[in-house]
């Protein structure tokens, strides 16, 4: 069992590294391509695909950044109860609540990913080719794929939460 958790952990770290590098590449392209377009405008040319591409990259970055935030547990939340429990030293209750929250997130993310998958099917049937010859369903597929990466990370956190205390001891 512990072996499985450790393999899961390795995969989780791999995802984290992948998302971080992808974020850097995305930001680099956003900045580079937009600069290029500003310069080209002086020469009366515009690359029409640059602007929609950068917006799609930002959209992808939302999920990549969301995945990284999941790993570091830095999603924005109303953290009042957690702070209070810390103040009163009620760690055991906090651990229970934490698992509850992780399960809640897992449910939310998987359900949304499923809804996204259904939309991809619809778009695949009725959508059209957009800039650079990419089919519009690809842009929608960003949602389920991105959310599944996030779901995996929540799942790993949940599983690991049952083992981390053993490992410490």
């Amino acid at each position: 069992m512990r072996k499985i958790v450790s393999v899961m952990g390795t995969i989780d770290e791999g995802l984290d590294r992948f998302c971080t590098i992808a974020l850097m590449v995305a930001l680099g392209i956003m900045i580079g391509a937009t600069l290029l377009n500003i310069v080209l405008r002086w020469f009366n040319t515009t690359l029409l695909w640059v602007e929609p591409m950068t917006r799609q990259l930002v959209f992808i970055a939302a999920f990549l950044g969301g995945a990284v935030a999941t790993g570091s547990r830095s999603h924005i939340a109303i953290d009042l109860v957690g702070r209070l429990l810390d103040t009163f030293g009620l760690q055991s209750i906090k651990a229970v609540i934490d698992r509850l929250i992780l399960s809640f997130c897992l449910l939310a993310v998987v359900w949304t990913a499923y809804a996204g998958y259904q939309l991809v099917l619809v778009e695949w049937e009725f959508g059209k080719i957009e800039f650079l010859g990419i089919h519009s369903s690809v842009f929608i597929a960003v949602v389920p794929v991105g959310l599944l990466v996030i779901a995996y990370r929540f799942f790993y956190l949940l599983v690991a939460s049952f083992f981390s205390t053993d490992e410490a001891g």
């Binding site: 937009t34 950068t54 917006r55 930002v58 990549l64 570091s72 509850l100 939310a108 359900w111």
Partner: protein
């Protein structure tokens, strides 16, 4: 059944579940019970990718983080101190100004308090201000500057509220100076006995020249935004890219504050994680807001308000109280996404100018950050200075009162905001 589930979701939110998950589940269950395909939620999420100014969010945030990690804050502070340090309250005013400019770039997510707090506190103390005053000032300045271009909340508001971002950029400038001005007067008044405790440095032209030269590469930054957009060279998004590219050049090549291989990747990761978290909330909230608007909730509230509220003045008063509560409870990004689509049609019905509404809205949230018991900046300051949060409460109350006075002025004298567009 639906009621139980919704209560459960809200409870989870209060217990600390990530906001994005809360919004997505709210949306999915709402659509599920309304017997609409849940994929409609994802249509709203995907709409995010069509917002014209979307690019400005990650890129300005990245530029802000670069500035925060470099020695730019030190150089700006030195310059401001050399310029204004000689006058009574000068140092405090300098602190307010630097915080405001800084927040404009970092988006007021508390980064200002973390990045500048440690730098400013000793300077204020040396000047003879009490710990309590200094703490209050830094906590209050943590969100000051939200109204200055190119702050992230302004961009987000323009996006969600469908208001021209370049107009908002102009509209926020004078109200922001009103906020800074009132706090500055207070600082001058509080600093009137400081001369005996700690003598002020006289103005030195050499030091000023030195500081000016020291910050020579920072000085053009605001003009990239202003000249870029208002000179017709770039869109708001492109202006963000030019700014970020310049900041990168400045800190990695001209000043060599940051290393391209060591610092920049880390800063990219940190800033983009924040951006990802914000955009994910935005995407998920859009789904839920779509449901609310679709069910005509704003119209229902409007009907209710029309029965009890009869003038624009009363409406604005109610709005301010309501927004202060929202600002206290929700982070600024969630607040904008959820509340703006609901109040925009109502405010229009009461004849409030959409640009004025935006400025009122953002000022309120700025103050909400500072409102006990749960304003976010109070906790960030408590964390940064390792003080009990009750100390921070006491320290920030005078600032809170002054900011509310400024809010009243901004709300009831629309000309402060709107004179540009006459």
């Amino acid at each position: 059944m639906a009621t139980i589930i919704f209560t459960g979701i809200v409870l989870m939110a209060l217990m600390g579940a990530p906001i994005f998950a809360v919004f997505s589940l709210l949306a999915l269950t709402a659509f599920h019970f309304a017997e609409i395909e849940t994929s409609a939620v994802v249509i709203e999420m995907v709409r995010l990718a069509h917002h014209p100014t979307l690019l400005a969010i990650p890129v300005f945030t990245f530029a802000g983080y670069l500035l925060a990690e470099s020695k730019t804050p030190d150089r700006l502070l030195r310059l401001a101190q050399a310029g204004l340090g000689w006058m009574p309250g000068g140092v405090a005013i300098v602190s307010l100004l630097v915080c405001a400019i800084f927040t404009a770039f970092t988006g007021g997510s508390g980064v200002t308090i973390i990045a500048l707090g440690g730098l400013l506190f000793p300077i204020l103390s040396k000047e003879g201000y009490s710990d309590r005053f200094s703490l209050g000032l830094i906590t209050a300045s943590g969100s000051l500057g939200l109204l200055f271009p190119p702050s992230l909340p302004i961009i987000l508001y323009g996006l969600v509220g469908k208001v021209d971002i370049d107009k908002l950029f102009l509209a926020g400038i004078v109200p922001c100076f009103v906020l800074i001005g009132i706090l500055s007067l207070y600082a001058i008044w509080m600093g009137r006995g400081n001369q005996q405790r700690a003598p002020r440095e006289p103005f030195s032209i050499d030091e000023f020249k030195g500081a000016l030269w020291g910050a020579r590469y920072e000085l053009p930054i605001p003009f990239f935004v202003l000249i870029g957009i208002y000179g017709g060279f770039t869109t708001a998004s492109e202006a963000s890219v030019v700014t970020a590219a310049y900041v990168l050049l400045m800190n990695c090549v001209l000043y060599k504050d940051l290393s391209f291989t060591g610092d920049v990747p880390k800063i990219t990761k940190d800033s983009m994680t924040l951006v990802g978290a914000i955009l994910l909330i935005l995407a998920c909230a859009l789904g839920f807001v779509n449901y609310i608007v679709d069910e005509d909730v704003p119209m229902l509230i409007l009907e209710l308000m029309k029965e009890h509220v009869d003038s624009q003045l009363t409406f604005l008063l109610c709005l301010n109280v309501f927004l202060l509560l929202v600002g206290m409870m929700l982070d600024i990004f969630s607040a904008i996404v959820v509340v703006v689509p609901i109040i925009t049609p109502i405010a229009a019905e009461f004849g409030v100018d959409p640009i004025h509404l935006a400025v009122i809205f953002l000022t309120n949230l700025e103050i909400g950050y500072l409102t006990p018991p749960v304003g976010l900046n109070l906790f960030i300051a408590s964390f940064r200075f390792e003080r009990p949060v009750t100390d921070i409460y006491k320290a920030s109350i005078p600032f809170l009162i002054l900011l509310i006075i400024a809010l009243v002025i901004i709300t009831y004298i629309p000309a402060i905001t709107l004179f540009w567009f006459k």
